[in-house]
């Protein structure tokens, strides 16, 4: 049901774009909305990060996933339980670039005996990693539309991505990988009962949206719906140089693609997709496990009512005297 809602939402978005283009609203969809979307993305993400950053981190609550630094002869696992900045950078890099924690994932099953077995389960890790990396490479490839001449680095990425040299025009591996991985991410939500149970509309929506973006992109490149790439570049260059122009005769499919990307950018800051930024601020991962070495300051630490020794002794002086415990006041 929730998946259906999301699916229809994306369909409606596609319909809206199509209607808009049919009504000759290319200026809005091609020139105005992308600016609005880019601004919403940049301001939205910045705003969210600032709001997070405004809340202090009162305690150092590192989740230690390995041996902490203690006695000199005990080997510290600095990437899993970092005691210095280098360790934290390493831990974060593993987390952000390779999804270290997700790599630990196992699948529990209950066998007769009873016996609980924790099996290998790297599919989510693999699909997640493929999804994010191919998305990143796809984005880097798209930057070619905004530059003339195209920087070497982008050409290199593009060249590597098309290395298989299948099909004309050349098939980008990341495009395929992106579609496959996003489909897997959807299927596990649809088919694994527990994951299905926890999934919300806002979990399906971005999946369908990204799927639709990838499909429209592919249609534009590999099928007769092909659009004039020179004109698309003209449009992109115009947008990028803040000198927007609208070339004539770009197919509707391009505007649908662009519209969906715009929606994604606008949706991003108000959604769970903010995990992209949140991971960097997550206190259990980005803090050192040096708690007893270096005092952490809580900015809102306030005095509290403690039962003082003096009051305590006042209350128990008689029994203490009887049992021979030392007293401050006789």
């Amino acid at each position: 049901m929730k998946a259906l809602y999301s699916f229809f939402a994306v369909m409606i978005l596609i319909g809206l774009a199509y209607l808009g283009i049919s009504a000759n609203m290319t200026t809005f969809f091609g020139l105005v909305l992308p600016y609005i979307a880019a601004a919403a993305f940049i301001f939205g993400v910045t705003y969210r990060i600032l709001i997070w950053a405004k809340s202090p981190v009162p305690f150092k609550i590192t989740t230690t996933c390995g041996q902490g630094k203690s006695l000199p002869w005990i080997k510290n696992s600095n990437l899993e339980s970092p005691h210095n900045t280098l360790g934290v950078i390493g831990r974060m890099a593993l987390e952000v670039l390779f999804f270290r924690s997700l790599f630990r994932n196992t699948k529990m099953s209950l066998k007769d005996g009873p016996k609980i077995v924790y099996g290998e389960n790297k599919w989510l890790w693999l699909a997640g990693l493929v999804f994010h990396w191919s998305f990143l490479i796809v984005i880097i490839r798209h930057l070619r539309f905004f530059f003339e001449p195209v920087p070497e680095f982008i050409l290199l990425v593009q060249g590597l991505d098309g290395l298989l040299e299948i099909y004309v025009p050349v098939l980008y591996m990341t495009g395929v990988a992106l579609l496959l991985s996003v489909t897997y991410l959807y299927l596990r939500r649809a088919l694994i009962p527990q994951i299905n149970y926890i999934s919300l509309i806002s979990d399906y929506f971005p999946l369908f949206l990204i799927m639709a973006i990838a499909i429209t992109g592919a249609l534009m490149r590999y099928t007769p719906l092909r659009v004039d790439i020179i004109k698309v570049k003209e449009l992109a260059m115009g947008l990028g140089s803040f000198n927007p122009v609208m070339p004539e005769g770009i197919g509707a499919i391009f505007f649908i693609h662009l519209f969906l990307v715009s929606v994604l950018l606008i949706y991003f800051p108000m959604s769970k997709l903010m995990h992209m930024a949140g991971i960097f601020l997550s206190p259990t991962r980005n803090m050192k496990n040096d708690n007893r070495m270096k005092r952490h300051i809580n900015p809102w630490n306030y005095p509290v009512d403690t039962h003082s020794y003096e009051d305590w002794e006042d209350e128990f002086r008689d029994v203490m005297r009887e049992s021979g415990l030392p007293l401050e006041k006789e």
Binding site: T62, G66, H83, S101, L124, Q194, M270, N291, R292
Partner: protein, 546 residues
């Protein structure tokens, strides 16, 4: 009416399929679910410690007698905590519900209840947050995953947030490090604001505030317990040790959880500490005022944790000790390692800890000035400062249970293993997915180790017990050693339920057993008063009979 206790054969029938029904329905039948929740705090304790709205109520009542403006109280409290804890705020926002945490929670594994998946436990609160604190939630409501705050939701929070042991295992597997403990802690603070607390937390904290320990033992009672241990140790070893209390000018203040002098098998660990300190001639003191290292305030609220914890530094200052040594306890060490210095420091009235025996500087504790007993003992063993006869533990085939907090909040993993290996001949690890940072909770931590939620404890402890069963079957393990007071108290019934052949012991019980003491009597026994394996025939009675 008490809940009937299900058998292991009943409990193991677990259905992991959550079904099709939407989880958004919050209704819980507390009567039917007896055995899975904890009793409410008694008004007397709540009043004494200053919890809001102390009153008579019960979870099985329809009317929980919430204050009239309970919704406003919860919302204000939620807003305040979003502003105070970046962790909480981020964890409310960035979960993608990937489900990696789902089958990592011992309560989910043992119960199959979908709301025990960490992600969904968090969603119970997150759904309310989304509804009333986010733009999308305010506009789209339930379409955006929002949920209205109703009395049923509050009841559901009470049920499920006192069904999380704040063990942080889910946080190890979460790609963003989302820590359900942080969410549970906030949820419990919110429940507290409308006067919903459980007695197993409320009464111990009230006791601790008043007398110095959770059990409410007064200073003379504390002294009796320690004196009793001195007598026992003399019976066992033939040596009368000195165990000073509130001694000014001692070099080290020694803080232990109260269960160590009141519980079994904790007590054998206490005897172990005392034997060890005597043997190395440590200048230390107990304190009757700071006679509790444990801190159930952690399970209630930041403020209460700080109030109770304050006594430790207060006492160290009053006694003029150089540094503090802490005994075996799990959540106590989370407080000491991750909170104490921040809350009640700086501890600039003490010195950086140095072992008076080995001269080792405990650099890792130079600010907080508190050293873990396993660090201390491991250092002694490494420097050959004590004589250990491992064969004195030959009656035990040992496995080690990493307690959640030392494992996942300190990274204290190899020190206790070093001590065990230094004191035992037979040590076997449980499977790797169940130890170290992936260790399974006892199922009774964070103040929910009561009799009334027995069923849920046995379910939650099942993954741990199952791993013990594995090493019992494979290596004939008969002792589960651990360094947590709650573990020692609650793993015992857990083992009795699932793996009755395995007993529980403190790591320092093993130290006490193996320790060869100068001047010990020829027929000394282990800390439990049992003759060592292979020496039974020269026991006292037999000799007398000859």
């Amino acid at each position: 009416m008490s809940a009937k206790k299900p058998t292991p054969a009943d409990l193991i029938q677990i259905d992991f399929n959550p079904g099709k029904k939407d989880w958004i329905d919050a209704k819980i039948d507390f009567e039917k679910k007896r055995g899975n929740w904890n009793y409410q705090v008694v008004p007397k304790s709540a009043e004494y410690i200053g919890m809001p709205y102390p009153r008579k109520w019960s979870p099985v009542d329809e009317d929980w007698k919430l204050p009239d403006n309970w919704q406003k109280i919860i919302f204000d409290g939620l807003r305040e905590r979003l502003d105070k804890y970046r962790s909480f705020k981020i964890f409310m926002d960035i979960c993608v519900r990937c489900g990696a945490c789902a089958d990592k929670c011992h309560f989910f594994i043992g119960s199959g209840d979908p709301k025990n998946m960490p992600v969904l436990r968090a969603e119970l609160l997150r759904s309310v947050y989304r509804n009333d604190f986010t733009a999308t939630g305010k506009i789209f409501g339930s379409l955006a995953g929002g949920r209205k705050l109703t009395v049923d939701v509050i009841k559901e929070w009470f049920f499920y947030f006192f069904q999380c042991t704040e063990c942080r295992r889910c946080s190890v597997f979460c790609p963003y490090g989302i820590d359900t403990a942080e969410i549970t802690m906030v949820a419990r603070e919110l429940l507290n604001l409308v006067g919903l607390n459980i007695d197993w937390i409320g009464t111990p904290v009230a006791n601790c505030h008043r007398t110095g320990n959770h059990l409410g033992i007064q200073p003379h009672g504390f002294k009796d317990s320690i004196d009793f241990a001195v007598d026992d140790l003399e019976d066992i070893t033939g040596i009368r040790v000195d165990a000073p209390i509130n001694k000014k000018g001692a070099e080290i203040l020694f803080v232990i959880p109260s269960a160590d002098y009141f519980g079994d098998p904790h007590y054998f660990g206490l005897l172990g500490y005392m034997a060890l300190f005597h043997e190395i001639g440590l200048d230390y003191t107990f304190s009757a005022y700071a006679s509790e290292g444990g801190n159930f305030g952690l399970f209630h609220s930041n403020e209460l944790m700080k109030r109770l914890n304050g006594k430790i530094y207060n006492e160290a200052k009053r006694l003029g000790v150089k540094w503090i040594l802490g005994g075996e306890c799990g959540h106590m060490w989370r407080v000491l390692h991750q909170y104490m210095d921040t809350m009640n420091g700086p501890a600039d009235f003490m010195e950086e800890p140095v072992s008076p025996i080995t001269g080792t500087k405990f650099e890792n504790a130079k600010s907080t000035k508190m050293v873990h007993i396993c660090e201390f003992t491991a250092d002694l063993i490494k420097h050959n400062k004590i004589k250990l006869d491992k064969s004195r533990n030959d009656q035990w085939r040992v496995t080690y249970h990493d307690s959640c907090n030392p494992a996942r909040a300190m990274g204290l993993l190899d020190e206790p293993r070093y001590v065990i290996n230094g004191t035992c001949n037979h040590f076997y690890e449980m499977p790797e997915n169940t130890i170290r940072e992936q260790t399974f909770c006892c199922g009774s931590g964070s103040g929910i180790g009561t009799d009334e939620n027995f069923e849920m404890r046995m379910r939650g402890g099942m993954p741990r017990a199952n791993a013990v069963q594995y090493v019992h079957d494979k290596h004939n393990v008969n002792l589960l050693a651990t360094i947590c007071a709650i573990d020692k108290a609650t793993l015992a019934p857990l083992m009795e339920y699932w793996v009755p052949e395995v007993g529980i012991g403190a790591v320092h019980e093993l130290v006490g057993n193996a320790l060869v003491m100068k001047g010990e009597k020829a027929d000394r026994t282990d800390m439990r008063g049992e003759p060592f394996l292979g020496t039974e025939t020269v026991g006292k009675e037999e000799e007398a009979n000859v």
